[in-house]
């Protein structure tokens, strides 16, 4: 336990958030020695998932410490508050009080019995969805990191129309099965989606709308209001001001991710998004990275405009490069520098998390206990909010309870007020969720994004600061951020090349050309092989002769 760390590393990474973990994995993968530490006793930083117990203490600790406390190691989250809406057990009606014919009442959730299940929660600070053909999915597959995670295909993409929560038909199958659209609408929707997909091949179809909004285009192709609503707000996640080009690009992105896994274009990581940074950490460790939680940097020494070594515990550790994650700062340095800027500011997100005892929307949206539902809400100013509802099937809450996450752009230091208009929309639907517990907080921008260009100490050329979560559904900007930092440190090296499968690895002195021993398992045949080896080989290739089994023509319906 108290073993000493090695004292020299190519890269020291402070913080185990998403961006830092990718950089750590990428460096380790190309053979660099990596020390990955985190002052917290959990993985993920601003990107972590907590069980309910840990979440409550985490929120309290932030709420109680003054916002200006500079001694805090972890300072990416502020304005935190939490409140229970149920406290004492409501008197359970006696059995004989239940009207006849009525089913026995469902479990009544009190604060106590919710807390009893605390281990079953994995509550994300920064919940996200992955486009099935998006950047992160591609990266996970190309780097072979996907083997560390499991996903659930999002069950429904929802929208609220006239106070009703409805499932937006995404796939061909959905369009076929939905009862919300007439057959003519079905045809029109399919046709619209087809033409959006063909935008690059047939730009002439859109010629007259090039400098107009997507909405104007949708109106021009004689769609019903129903369809316009679904396409504009849910499929392309746009608003009234979105340009044609952006609207179509968003629509294409959505459609391109369809049909891969499940019925919607999205995936959600089982057990929460906090698993994702850990996958990268595992890869880093597999390639020799050293992991140490609950360790922070207490001092740094600088030489030649570079950090030469850091003090970690009572050890001095030399590091060629240092990557600092969101929410971590090096002592004595308010602003380290050298990170790559992203176009948009990170952070600036108002968050709400609700534990509810009933889901949003009717039974058909939550059949057999519900899955993962996604809802994009819009507002006048534009960016809107992402709403994610998780049931126990996602591995993030106990059976019978639901987690509802809302994220929107922070407009003030009062996340509850920022979220309120969106929450009101949910609460005024035909099937509003019943909230037991709520949490509000703000995710801050990273120091670089906050202070912009006016950074002092910009000359520290070997320190790189990672951005926190951006207000985006998927992880695209964060991956760009990580890849950018990696390329700055190791401009010549490949970013996360595919990790070999265990079968491909030659272990020890094994003959690299040796064949797995289960190829032949039959002793009686082994003898025969020996005989054949002795020169009884036939010329004809029996294998081939029998492998010519052609696919039969498709069976056709009546006559």
């Amino acid at each position: 336990m108290d073993e000493d760390l090695p004292t020299e590393f190519d890269l020291v990474v402070v913080g185990t958030g998403f961006v830092e973990s990718i950089v750590a994995a990428a460096a380790s993968r190309i053979g660099k020695t990596v020390l990955h530490i985190d002052p917290n006793d959990f993985y993920g930083g601003t990107w972590a998932s907590f069980n309910l117990d840990a979440l409550q203490s985490f929120i309290s600790s932030i709420a109680e410490s003054p916002a200006t406390d500079e001694s805090k190691q972890f300072n990416s989250i502020k304005n935190a508050s939490q409140i229970w809406h149920v406290t004492t057990p409501t008197a359970t009606p006696a059995d004989d009080a239940i009207p006849e014919g009525q089913e026995a009442t469902e479990k009544i959730w009190t604060k106590e019995n919710v807390l009893k299940e605390f281990r079953r929660f994995n509550v994300d600070l920064s919940p996200k969805l992955l486009f099935s053909c998006g950047k992160l999915v591609k990266l996970l597959i190309s780097s072979n990191i996907c083997r560390y995670a499991e996903f659930r295909a999002v069950d429904h993409v929802c929208t609220i129309i006239n106070g009703q929560t409805r499932s937006v038909p995404c796939s061909r199958t959905d369009v076929f099965n939905t009862k919300d659209l007439s057959i003519v609408e079905k045809r029109l929707l399919m046709k619209l989606l087809t033409s959006c997909m063909g935008y690059d091949e047939h730009p002439e179809e859109f010629k007259d709308y090039e400098d107009k909004t997507f909405l104007e285009y949708l109106k021009s192709v004689k769609l019903t209001d129903n369809i316009i609503h679904c396409v504009l707000y849910s499929i392309s996640m746009s608003n009234e001001q979105t340009s044609l080009k952006d609207g179509i690009d968003n629509t294409k992105k959505f459609l391109n991710s369809l049909g891969r896994y499940g019925n919607t274009p999205f995936l959600f990581p089982m057990y929460g998004c906090g698993e994702i940074p850990q996958c990268f950490c595992r890869l880093c460790a597999v390639f020799g990275g050293i992991y140490c939680l609950k360790r922070s940097v207490s001092n740094v020494s600088i030489a030649d405009a570079k950090v030469d070594s850091i003090k970690c515990g009572n050890q001095d550790i030399k590091a060629s490069n240092i990557v600092v994650g969101h929410g971590n700062i090096l002592p004595d340095f308010s602003i380290p520098a050298g990170g790559t800027g992203v176009g948009k500011k990170c952070g600036g997100i108002s968050r709400a998390i609700y534990i509810t005892s009933s889901p949003l929307g009717a039974e058909e949206l939550n059949s057999s206990g519900g899955g993962v539902n996604f809802l994009k809400l819009t507002d006048e100013s534009g960016t809107g909010a992402f709403v994610l509802q998780l049931s126990h099937y996602s591995g993030t809450c106990p059976k019978g309870l639901y987690l509802i996450h809302i994220s929107c752009s922070a407009k003030s230091n009062n996340p509850e007020a920022d979220i309120k208009p969106y929450l009101d929309k949910l609460l005024t639907t035909d099937h509003p969720p019943a909230i037991l517990y709520s949490i509000y907080f703000t995710i801050d921008a990273c120091l670089r994004c906050t202070s912009g260009a006016s950074i002092t100490n910009d000359s520290l050329s070997n320190v790189f600061v990672c951005c926190g979560p951006s207000f985006e559904l998927d992880y695209d900007e964060s991956i760009d951020n990580a890849e950018g930092i990696f390329k700055k440190i190791y401009p010549e090296d490949e970013f996360l090349p595919r990790a070999p499968d265990p079968e491909e690895i030659v272990i020890g002195d094994e003959d690299p050309v040796s064949v797995a021993d289960d190829v032949i398992t039959l002793d009686s045949v082994k003898e025969q092989i020996m005989e054949l080896e002795a020169g009884l080989l036939h010329q004809e290739d029996c294998m081939e002769e029998n492998s010519r089994n052609e696919e039969m023509a498709m069976e056709v319906g009546e006559e």
Binding site: T173, F176, K186, L188, P512, V519, Q528, I529, E555
Partner: protein
């Protein structure tokens, strides 16, 4: 402290693959050698099971090996009690499943499974249904598994309702699925037979629902043809039901024609007016055909001998059923004809649904006037609603389709010809007068349908159409035709018009014969 990561180089990997492949080939050869040797010696034992298993588990399509396994099992089972026998079969059942994991579309493995279940003492059919569920969950279009399902479901006595429900679920999941639409078309007639007419597959109320579902599929993805097949089936556009089409008997020639090609020589014919037909003497009109829609006998028939109220011609066909037709007496013998069933006649509720669907199509045509599948559906719907009323309009749509969907021009032209002929033929049959001409002139016909119904007509006018050489063989049916007007068509090969025994006038002017050919044709005319 740590070892370095070594990954096989691509050359090493290739060498390894090659080595592995060589070993596999050798194993295969050695195994096959051993198998045939053992078989020759009658050694159908455990080892035989093992070696065949070894090979089949990698390559389940070697049919011979499955047969050897059967021999083995039968032999080994001989000396066993029921329980031991069952466990022997069960073990092999487990083995086929392993093969199916390698290739879920292996004919050999599925067939072997059938064999085991039919031979083992206590087959567990429910288990097999569950297995089908599993494989159809993996791939709902695995038609091997659908076939197998139909087999085991019958044995397990799964109620058709359950199967229909299952089928519906699969369609809701992915409606591009021939197998499941097809299965549906087999289940529905069992569960929802038509209230009155046995010729109609399903009841009116169910039909209404089904039409709704299939049109939804078609509107969602018109490019998926599986739904179309099903829609045609529902609307009755599949093959006509078997029936007698027309009969004519004169002094020296008799013709019998049918709605579908049959082999008349295997049928029994009975009349109530003393004519006996020797089955062997029937000849197909198209020489050499085993099955034909029209058959003739050249013989001398004694006409006018009897004087009955009804002349009945009865034929027991290969389906074991009797088909009968009432004949009329005329100056030169007997004749009779039945009007073909062009489309189903639907009840009011279905018509209502069809009208709604037509309305949806028309609505859509406002947005997309050139949508080919909408035009086609609309014209099919119109005919199902009111064939005569919509005759002109439905043909207009087809003409439009010929222009905008050039690739399928021939299909539309044939369909239009069919509909045009139906109208004329229906009127002609209603008149029931042989001396009246069947006038098919000026109809843009690309081909001829229902020629068997015209086989008893005296005069057939096909003037000014687009008939070409490919349709000339249809004239074979016109055995009683005396006057055939095929002028102003696209015939180009002399001699393509077959010999018609009673023909007196043949008009062929305005076709595409070369000069040379015309002369030869004139010669042919003279011979008439």
């Amino acid at each position: 402290m740590h070892g370095r990561l070594k990954v096989r180089t691509s050359a090493e990997e290739a060498a390894r693959k090659k080595k592995e492949q060589e070993i596999k080939v050798k194993t295969y050869r050695a195994g096959m050698g051993r198998i045939f040797e053992k078989r020759k010696n009658g050694q159908l034992d455990d080892e035989m099971m093992q070696i065949t298993g070894q090979i089949l588990s990698r390559n389940p399509d070697v049919y011979t090996l499955w047969n050897i396994r059967k021999e083995c099992i039968l032999k080994m089972a001989e000396s066993l009690g029921n329980e031991a026998k069952q466990s022997l079969y069960d073990k092999d059942l487990g083995f086929t499943e392993q093969c199916l994991m390698v290739n879920p579309k292996s004919y050999g493995a599925w067939h072997h499974r059938c064999w085991i279940l039919e031979n083992c003492p206590t087959p567990d059919w429910e288990r097999e249904v569950a297995l089908c569920n599993k494989y159809l969950k993996l791939d709902e279009r695995n038609f091997h598994c659908w076939d197998y399902r139909r087999f085991v479901v019958k044995k397990a006595k799964v109620p058709a309702e359950d199967e229909l429900k299952y089928c519906t679920e699969k369609i809701h999941k992915n409606f591009s699925n021939y197998s499941s639409w097809h299965y549906r078309s087999k289940l529905l007639p069992l569960l929802f037979p038509h209230e009155t007419s046995p010729a109609r597959p399903i009841s009116e109320s169910k039909l209404k629902e089904e039409l709704e579902m299939v049109l939804t599929a078609a509107f969602t993805d018109p490019n998926d043809s599986s739904a179309w097949f099903y829609q045609r089936w529902l609307l009755g556009y599949s093959q006509p039901a078997l029936d007698i089409a027309a009969i004519r008997i004169s002094k020296n020639l008799a013709i019998a024609s049918f709605s579908k090609p049959i082999d008349l020589r295997t049928c029994e014919i009975e009349t109530n007016f003393g004519f006996n037909f020797n089955p062997d003497r029937w000849q197909p009109v198209q020489k050499g055909n085993k099955y034909d829609v029209a058959w003739i006998v050249e013989d001398s028939f004694e006409l006018g001998a009897s004087d009955l109220q009804q002349y009945i011609f009865k034929c027991r066909m290969s389906d074991g059923k009797d088909y009968a037709i009432n004949l009329k007496k005329c100056s030169d013998g007997f004749y009779g004809m039945k009007c073909p069933k062009f489309e189903y006649e639907f009840g009011a509720a279905v018509i209502e649904e069809l009208k709604n669907q037509l309305e949806s199509c028309n609505q859509l045509l406002e947005y997309e006037p050139d949508s080919k599948w909408t035009l086609l559906t609309a014209s099919l719907l119109m005919r199902a609603i009111d064939r005569r009323g919509y005759h002109t309009k439905s043909l207009e749509y087809l003409q439009k389709l010929e222009k905008i969907d050039y690739l399928r021009q021939g299909y539309y032209a044939d369909l239009a010809s069919k509909w045009a002929i139906e109208k004329v033929l229906e009127e002609w049959i209603e008149q029931g007068d042989l001396t009246v001409a069947i006038d098919l002139s000026n109809l843009n016909l690309a081909t001829i349908f229902y020629e068997q119904y015209m086989s008893i007509a005296k005069i057939v006018i096909l003037r000014n159409n687009c008939l070409s050489d490919r349709t000339a063989t249809k004239f074979n049916a016109f055995q009683f035709c005396e006057n055939l007007d095929a002028s102003y068509n696209q015939f180009s090969t002399p001699g393509v018009i077959p010999h018609i025994p009673n023909l007196k006038v043949l008009s062929l002017e305005g076709n595409k014969f070369s000069n040379n050919a015309t002369t030869r044709l004139e010669d042919q005319m003279k011979n008439l």
